[in-house]
């Protein structure tokens, strides 16, 4: 936890750990690969961009090798990272409790370390990543072997692209712009967040960890 000194405005704020190195590495590898794949994918998909950029075979190569690098990096992080922590996170994400359901329909409800929206974001993003990979493998096969050439994979790959762009736009807004949520970005960069912010937005998390540590 970084030590920050207090000043004339008051005592140093307290910070709590939200994401470990494994979680942050997964997030940033996925985010970097997503934008590289989106950029090259759009060039391959939209005729206007194809013309503007040209060099289609090179763009195809970059798209394919980025996808391979993404998959390898994700697997390596999971193998060599904090697998126990990841399993605990996934269990937490899968649990959509009564408070989460209230929160999702727009009512006030105390939230845990992940709010219900974040839980759904993790679920959808993980499922989309798997489907992107599977449909992408079929597209790769289709380019080399005509018996793998049918519409399904391309329809799914395209639909995933559109939905992911919407999802990521919302994600970027909440992480960078929206005043009450953008502090969360610190958790994904430095790993910790201000305790008072966490207490407001993720009260069940703070209360539970206080109960556990006996504070």
């Amino acid at each position: 936890m970084p030590a920050e000194r207090g000043n004339q405005f008051g005592p140093a704020p307290k910070f709590v750990r939200r994401f470990g190195r494994t979680q942050r590495a997964l997030h940033w590898v996925h985010a970097t690969a997503f934008f590289a794949l989106l950029g090259t994918g759009l060039v391959l998909w939209l005729p206007t961009l194809s013309t503007w950029v040209g060099r289609r075979p090179l763009v195809k190569d970059v798209h394919l090798w980025t996808a391979i690098a993404w998959a390898v990096a994700i697997v390596l992080i999971i193998i060599f990272g904090d697998r126990q922590g990841l399993r605990a996170d996934w269990r937490e994400v899968e649990r959509i409790d009564a408070d989460d359901r209230r929160w999702l329909v727009g009512r006030r409800a105390p939230q845990g370390r992940f709010n219900a929206g974040q839980k759904l974001n993790v679920i959808v993003t993980t499922a989309f990543a798997l489907l992107f990979a599977v449909s992408g493998v079929f597209l790769w096969l289709a380019a080399r072997e005509s018996r793998f050439r049918w519409d399904g994979p391309i329809v799914v790959h395209d639909a995933l692209t559109l939905l992911s762009v919407l999802l990521v736009l919302g994600h970027l807004y909440l992480a960078l712009v929206h005043p009450t949520t953008r502090h969360a970005l610190r958790g994904m960069t430095l790993g910790d967040v201000r305790e008072d912010w966490a207490r407001t937005h993720h009260s069940k998390w703070i209360e539970e960890s206080e109960r556990r540590t006996g504070v």
């Binding site: 195809k60 380019a143 519409d151």
Partner: protein
Amino acid sequence: MNDRLLGRAAFLGILGAGAAGIVWGRNVADIVGRLVPDQIAEILPTKGWRIYTIRGIPRIDPAVFRLRVDGLVERPLSLSLENLRELPRAEQVSDFHCVTGWSVENVHWAGIRFDDLLAEAGPQPEARWLQFFSEEVPYVDTLSLEQALVPDAMLALDMDGKPLTKPHGFPTRVVMPRMYGYKGVKWVNRIHIRRDFVPGYWETHGYDSDAWIGKSNFGFIKGQE
């Protein structure tokens, strides 16, 4: 329901829907194609078709449209839509394969065989290549004389029982079912008969000139036959 099952159900549900889409995606596109009005369906990726352009769909006034056939011919032609409709009419049902991976089966085309068109113009002995110019400048592509004369290549005027729609190349387009779709120049306004080969638009961007289906454009791994 168990709190934990809810999240897992959402996860598995998305995976299941995606897997179904990978297997049956085309059928979904067909259903969408039937539900939305024709004008919208033509530009959406419905009915299996995707409309790719390099500059956008060109506007063509059918009243002033002329197809020019020039170059190494005895009688250069300038044909109106009416003139084209008077030429011997051929029909065929063939599959359409796009190099990006999608296909549309059993497309009904009607139009003019290239030997009927060339008979009008009278190619000179050294004629070897047909270069097709599109109203969508600078889209061009080329077929050899032998390729253009295969029995199922044609200059199409109709698709699925109706005149070509704008997104599909109104008023005329090349149909070459044995090759990938980028050889099928849309909005053709000029056929230039040549002695020398000239690469087409996508061929200058790295695609194969002889775009035989299943035997070309292994674009992902270079140098592989």
